[in-house]
């Protein structure tokens, strides 16, 4: 009996180890492109032209260093080898306006997130707790909009924004982003689960409905607000197609559009593009690592996947 169990345990352990190894291999496939991006962002133009595939820039490779120490020709003699390590990053900012693009991305994402949280909370609270004619119909209508695919909506939304005279403006970028039926839905579900007795207590203390929402419901809803806020922020930060079609003035470009623009330039400076790409993807990765528990909760709730 015990031997059998021990055998079973041994088999289980081996299976667990095999699964771990396969998962590690998969993880390498997931991480490799990031390592490649960071490595490429540290190469000089000459190095990228000579060695596109290595993760470590030639001038930092051990054999090149040894050659150099022996006085042989090496990557350390190539032009640019003595420049500051982060030169591509500073160049991306100085010559590539990456700081402007980053600022724009941040501004759009913050404004969209703040407005969505505010208007979605109000609507969700009304749908959860207030009684009014047409509540069911309006809510169904709202839900139905979630099923419209973004690619189908691109041209229609452009026609509206252009009709409003907002093409190539800040408002033109953010206004469609304020629409968030999913947020209303998610918050409403959460509000429905808050015990009514708490709100009634607030009402007896003389709070208005807005007061109850602010002082009682919102503090209890912090987790769901953070989850929704993070997803909205990430969606807005990563959005590409909409700002691409609505903007033509580079000064308004978010980072995603700015990067795609660099790609079009003839003789594109790829190490510098990758420096911009690192700066554009790091903020979300950091945010993700800091707020992981809120996000993991949100994943299974969402049909929010971007394109």
């Amino acid at each position: 009996m015990t031997t059998a169990r021990r055998q079973g345990d041994g088999r289980k352990r081996r299976a667990g180890l095999a699964a771990f190894l396969v998962m590690s291999l998969g993880a390498a496939v997931m991480v490799y492109p990031y390592a490649y991006m960071v490595g490429a962002s540290l190469k000089t133009r000459r190095e990228f032209a000579a060695d596109r595939h290595s993760l470590v820039p030639p001038r930092f490779q051990i054999d090149q260093r040894l050659k150099h120490a022996r006085g042989e020709p090496s990557a350390l003699d190539w032009p640019g080898a003595d420049w500051p390590v982060l030169k591509n990053y500073t160049d991306a900012i100085v010559y590539g306006q990456v700081d402007v693009f980053l600022f724009n991305s941040l501004l759009y994402a913050v404004v969209i997130t703040a407005v969505q949280l505010a208007i979605n909370t109000l609507a969700a609270y009304a749908f959860a707790r207030m009684s009014f004619r047409g509540r069911g119909v309006l809510f169904s209508l709202l839900l139905a909009t979630m099923m419209l695919p973004p690619a189908v909506l691109l041209v229609p939304q452009f026609l509206v924004v252009s009709g409003l005279g907002l093409v190539d403006s800040f408002m033109g970028v953010v206004l469609p982003g304020f629409a968030g039926a999913f947020g209303v839905f998610l918050l409403r579900q959460f509000f429905l689960n808050i015990p009514r007795s708490l709100e009634e207590a607030g009402r007896l203390d003389g709070c208005s409905s807005l007061g109850v929402l602010w002082h009682i419901v919102l503090p209890l809803s912090r987790p769901v607000l953070v989850t929704l806020g993070l997803f909205t922020f990430m969606g807005a930060w990563n959005s590409f197609v909409w700002p691409l079609v609505v903007l033509s003035d580079q000064a308004y470009y978010p980072l995603t559009v700015g990067l795609s623009l660099f790609r079009e330039e003839s003789g594109a400076d790829w190490p510098r593009i990758f420096a911009g790409a690192v700066m554009g993807s790091m903020p979300l990765i950091l945010l993700f690592l800091l707020a992981q528990r809120y996000l993991v909760r949100g994943i299974s709730l969402s049909g929010l996947k971007g394109q």
């Binding site: 991006m37 109000l122 691109l154 209303v184």
Partner: protein, 286 residues
């Protein structure tokens, strides 16, 4: 939904609460769609904001034009969707099963596999332009270009869908497995008769989401191949985009195409609505 509605006093102030969200959402969904339908019946000049009525000519042009790029785009998109389904399901489900068995590092794996979901698709496309070159010129040949952008899409989506499968697997009560073990079921039988049937909802959900997501593929095709070589990566969303914003005076045609895309996706959207309704997706937030 109608909980206690009869007893409650009606509160007209509620309209003020819902007005901003409802106005923006409806404006950028049904109202927009309505306007684009109107535009699709015209030869539209975006600079004048008006056009000449042409009836169904834009639709007819897309559907019946000889050597129509529209049908080519439909075909390419369909191929892409098939590759995406095979690729995403073929990686994310096995990965989810493995992740649960892995002896160490389960939470680290979840984190790492999620990274592509929070990286801009533009950045991913820029990186893969170079990584794909290592695999030979698969991006530059018309036979394999579509596959190469599908690989990128699959790489991006598999981790996210793995997490969806993990969530689905976690909902399966452990007793079922114990019962199967008592009955002497092998691992394979366990998967076939316990895991798969109980994972059905997640499987349908993921498949439908992948179909809907993949049929809108745009960014890789735009950044990596621009629809080429020889139109081999010319997909629906890219065609709509090019006609609306790159070619002059084709806004009516582009609107018609957007509507046709909607019509093609409609069946899946209906399935999605059913799945969405049946899924108790809000339980976890409490």
């Amino acid at each position: 939904m109608a909980r206690g509605i009869g007893k409650e006093r009606r509160q007209p102030v509620a309209y003020l609460y819902i007005a901003p969200a409802l106005a923006v959402v409806l404006l950028f969904s049904f109202v927009s769609m309505g306007i684009s339908f109107y535009v699709s019946l015209h030869q539209w000049d975006p600079f004048q904001g008006k056009g000449q009525f042409v009836g169904g000519a834009n639709y007819a042009r897309a559907l019946t034009e000889p050597n129509s790029i529209f049908w080519l785009a439909v075909r390419n998109t369909l191929l892409y969707v098939v590759m995406a389904i095979i690729g995403v399901l073929g990686t994310s489900l096995p990965l989810a099963l493995l992740c649960r068995r892995a002896r160490y590092g389960q939470s680290l794996f979840r984190t790492l596999y999620f990274l592509p979901s929070i990286t801009p698709m533009v950045v991913i496309s820029l990186i893969w332009i170079w990584l794909l070159q290592r695999m030979g010129a698969i991006m530059d040949r018309s036979q394999t270009a579509l596959l190469s952008i599908a690989l990128v899409g699959i790489w991006q989506a598999s981790g996210y869908n793995m997490l969806l499968f993990l969530a689905g697997l976690n909902e399966i009560p452990q007793e079922y497995y114990e019962a199967a073990r008592v009955d002497g079921a092998s691992r394979l039988q366990e998967f076939r008769h316990v895991t798969l049937p109980l994972l059905r909802n997640t499987l349908v959900f993921v498949t439908v989401m992948v179909i809907i997501g993949a049929s809108q593929v745009f960014t890789q095709a735009y950044v990596m191949t621009r629809g080429g070589p020889q139109r081999s990566t010319e997909v629906m969303a890219l065609q709509v985009f090019k006609n609306a914003f790159s070619y002059a005076g084709q806004m009516g045609y582009a609107s018609a195409m957007a509507w046709l895309l909607f019509a093609l996706l409609f069946v899946f959207i209906l399935i999605q609505m059913r799945v969405f309704r049946s899924r108790r997706i809000y339980d976890e937030s409490s």
